[in-house]
Each structure stands twice: as C-alpha cells, then as structure tokens.
Amino acid sequence: MKIEIELLTMPLDVQHCINFVSSDDSGGIDVFIGTVRNATKGKAVLRLEFEAYEPMAIAEMRKIAEQANEKFGTKRIALHHRTGVLQIGEAAVVIAVSAPHRAAAFDACRYCIDTLKETVPIWKKEIFEDGEVWVAAHP
C-alpha cells in the first residue's frame, strides 16, 4: 500500500501524483484536481488563502487515504493540498488513485475528496474586491 500525503506552499504537480500511483499492475487512474474559481455566488473572487492545522491535516489526509484503500481495494493514492495564497485557476488539491479496475479508482478518488472536505482541518478564505470571508464559517 503506497500513500503519499503532502501539504505544500508551492504549486501542486499533477504529473508527479500520476507518476506516484502508476504501476504495471494498475489498469486505471483517476485524478481529481480542485481549482480556484473566479466567482462565488456570482461575486468575483480575487484570490484565495488556505490555512491548515498542519500536523492534524496531514494525519487526517493519511487516514482518508488508508480508509479509501481499505474500502475500495485500491493500492496507491497521492493526496496533495496547497496552503497559502492561491490565484484563480491554480490547483488547491490533487488526488490521484490507481486500481486494477476503474470503478475502484473512481470510487476511492471521490471518497477522498468528499471526506477531505468534511474532516481535514484546512480553511479557505475568499478575498473579494470589497472584503474577505472564511468559507462556510457562518450558517
């Protein structure tokens, strides 16, 4: 079982994640890339800032990858998340999963991003022309 977890301040490297999960016995790789959108609810976003509780974020990301491998029988997962200031279009997260068959790769990749968004202590602040907002903080 091969897992690579990274929390990085520099741009994420999709090809590195794909290479990490590639192997001669895998038949399918699914990759999810979460990118910074230029608008939220119709309002222009200038840039984002991500803040993480780093040791816990890394531990939670590793748990998710381990759970995914266990649930779906996948063997290799790379899970990289960016922190700091991100411009529009940049990747905030890259998840690559390989599996002998494609259904497991899709299911595991989706499980990773869905669970990451619920449990990993990382916070996104959207910066607008006229202010800034921590996403999802208030009801």
Binding site: G34, A52, A92, L116, P121, W123, W134, V135, A136, H138
Partner: protein, 80 residues
C-alpha cells in the same frame, strides 16, 4: 491545569491570536473547555460549528483533558 489552545480560520479572528494558554480545573472535560471558551468569546457560538481536537484528534464532549494538552478550535473546514 494549563491547556494550550490553537485557533484557526475564523476562530483565530474571534480569539484574536493563534496561541493561547487556558486555565481549567483538574478533571475538566472537552465540554467544560468549550463552555469557558464560549463564555469568554461569545462570537464562537455564532459559527456553524466548532469542533475541538485534542492533541490532533477530534474529541467528543466527554473526553477528559490533561495538563499541557493541545486543543485546537476547528470551525467548519473548507479545504479542497
């Protein structure tokens, strides 16, 4: 006993600093810490949620705290 409080995201804005030392009576649990923090920083109760993590693990309200535990205030996460 002394607990080390770490605050993130909007919780840091409310508390005003990343690191905070907090005094609690011996035998206090997560729920007691939550109550005393909310008393001091009422804006915390306006958030969608605040989970507490003890030494980097999410903790239920009944978990007992120990001297020098590190407790993180975790408002709604929004990574990805």
């Amino acid at each position: 006993m002394k607990i080390s409080i770490l605050s993130f995201g909007i919780a840091k804005d409310i508390v005003g600093q990343r690191f905070l030392d907090w005094e609690l009576p011996e035998g206090a649990a997560v729920a007691d810490l939550r109550a005393s923090l909310t008393a001091q920083f009422p804006a915390l109760s306006k958030l969608t949620s605040v989970r507490l993590a003890v030494n980097s693990e999410y903790a239920e309200e009944g978990v007992f705290l120990s001297e020098n535990d590190e407790v993180a205030l975790i408002p709604p996460v929004s990574g990805g």
